[in-house]
């Protein structure tokens, strides 16, 4: 008796004929038409990113790089306790009055413990202007995926030079081996009458600080 794998591959051969050699397949792939634009905008993409992110009800603030510590402290002023992932630049937190409200994921917290933390502050891997999207690759300063998911308030710092014009440019910056989360506004649903409503399971508040 053949395995499911062998049988499915045999059915595919029966439908499509003998498979082409891998090099031929790759050559055919390289020749596929790609007449679309790599970017839909070129002028002032940072402003475009700010507009588009705000469109999806993220709160967006632009600050100079020197004003960033003050802005971070300001956004977090009303938050009872917040996570700081390892690798977040210490300078970003320089204006915090004290360390009392800071929670570290070391040793790693359980999901139930994360649920008791009100907020999280992170950096990001890249951002997409066209769609108002931030991209996390969960590297240093971003934390494992659960950290930016369970707390209800996510503060994310985007450096102006991390903003890519469009999806294609942004994806090209990433390492596909890493896990990624693309975030466009706070959590939302269109499941009731196909009307978008913000605030379901993911963080209900997303605050983006664009620095530089």
């Amino acid at each position: 008796m053949s395995t499911a794998r062998e049988e499915i591959l045999a059915r595919i051969r029966a439908a499509t004929g003998v498979p082409a050699a891998p090099a031929e397949v790759d050559a055919a792939y390289a020749a596929l038409p790609r007449g679309y634009l790599r970017a839909h905008h070129d002028a002032d993409i940072v402003a475009l990113f700010a507009d588009r992110a705000a469109d999806y009800r993220a709160v967006v603030e632009r600050v100079g790089i020197g004003e960033l510590p003050g802005a971070v402290a300001g956004v977090l002023s009303g938050v009872s306790r917040f996570l700081v992932p390892s690798g977040l630049p210490a300078s970003w937190l320089a204006a915090l009055p004290d360390e009392e409200r800071v929670v570290r994921d070391d040793p790693p917290l359980s999901a139930l413990e994360l649920d008791k933390v009100a907020g999280v502050v992170t950096g990001c891997a890249a951002a997409i202007a066209e769609t108002g999207t931030i991209i996390l690759d969960h590297g240093p300063g971003q934390g494992r995926r659960a950290l930016t998911l369970v707390p209800d308030f996510h503060v994310v710092v985007v450096l102006a030079d991390q903003v890519a014009a469009d999806i294609a440019d942004a994806l090209a910056l990433l390492d596909p081996a890493r896990p990624h989360t693309l975030i466009s506004g706070p959590s939302a649903t269109s499941d009731i009458e196909l009307i978008r409503v913000e605030g379901v399971h993911g963080p209900r508040n997303l605050h983006i600080l664009i620095a530089g």
Binding site: P19, A28, L149, I167, I195
Partner: protein, 479 residues
Amino acid sequence: MTGSMPTYLGMPAFPDAARAAVANSQLRRNLTHATTAIRTKRARAVAELGDWEDLRQAAKAIKDHVLANLGTYLVRLEENVTKAGGTVHWARDAAEANAIVADLVLAARGGGRVVKVKSMATQETGLNEALAERGITPIETDLAELIVQLGDDLPSHILVPAIHRNRAEIGDLFRRTMPDAPRDLTDEPPQLAAAARAHLRSEFLSAQVGISGANFAVADTGSLVVVESEGNGRMCLTLPRTLISVVGVEKVLPSWRDLEVFLALLPRSSTAERMNPYTTIWSGVTPGDGPDSFHLVLLDNGRTATLRDPVGRQALRCIRCSACLNVCPVYERAGGHAYGSPYPGPIGAILSPQLRGLSSPVDASLPFASSLCGACYEVCPVAINIPEALVHLRARSVESQRHYPERSVFKLSGYVLRSPRRLAAAQRAVALSRFVAGRKGRIRRLPPPLSAWTDTRDAPAPPPESFRAWWARTRGGAS
């Protein structure tokens, strides 16, 4: 081999089911309200990109290339998922997929509960019922799926399975079936969403096993992609220790780079957003981040049988955006349940009969559940020519039903249409049939076997001269 998919119990053929649905005025109001709003928004989101047609043609070409080389890409996907620490399983049909998943869930000792992200593949295999039979409780976490599950209802839309319910009906349902719903819960959508959040929170935080589908699987990196809005997807993909993803074999994309095309097309086509709120991309397992055990179940269930049909196989390009449902005049009036399958609307009318085969009355009737207006083809982000596939499947349905008069008419028309000379002769002959028309220019009864047509409808009398003959004579009025 075709696959199996639950036909909704006691499901009549489309015309009977549609007749009942059309008589339900609440259902029609809900559907018209939702689909009209999304149509306008989608058109705006699409118009924003000047190169939409180029994106669409690129997507079509990529998907066709994958289908032509499916075996190569599946093996490559398997290799890269395995390299990244995942385990790949292959399932010939629904029963095999369900058994694999149930065995994995029981082995993971998840306390008999699993959290699920909305997935068409597991709707198709009837996974929830199969899990329940093995003593496992599946918990749907997508808001619309939750509405369907709480109401013991059936999904009626690919993207928004509870589209047939309005906010008042959903409010009633929550107050009735959700023990932890706030007492003063109103029908306002933000309040309903908040109630769902509270209801599912403890399930997410304690879940040991998550089950998902995937929108895309990238062969050259072993990446899986799940596109969602609420964050329930992120919860199910990230918090449990074991993750099982059931993915149709046609979901594979050659390369990471192809995501630039599909992430531009899918959100704008489905929810009319520039980008959906959340997209999760992962390959295998990442130590210290997310599940420590990942299983990919590659599902055939009739897809390879669909691949054998050179016209019908284009249905396998579908990325489940549901734009074709939202523009379809038949769907808007009949609703999703009439299609008798998890895949309703125009795409369902060509996908279900191919995945399941044309043998049941409902599947044989589905290719006829269309006016062939072509709106579905126009909005399809992967350019599936649904009208073409419908006409093709109508012919196959007729063949399989051994409906001789129609079959001979199809054969004869094929013979006539293949030659301009034969067509001209036939048109001259048809023009003469004017003499059997009644006073209002309608033909009430044709001789057998053509009476099969006029038994249930009138035929218009043909014009005295065909367009081709008129053109040849006058050149369209040019001197």
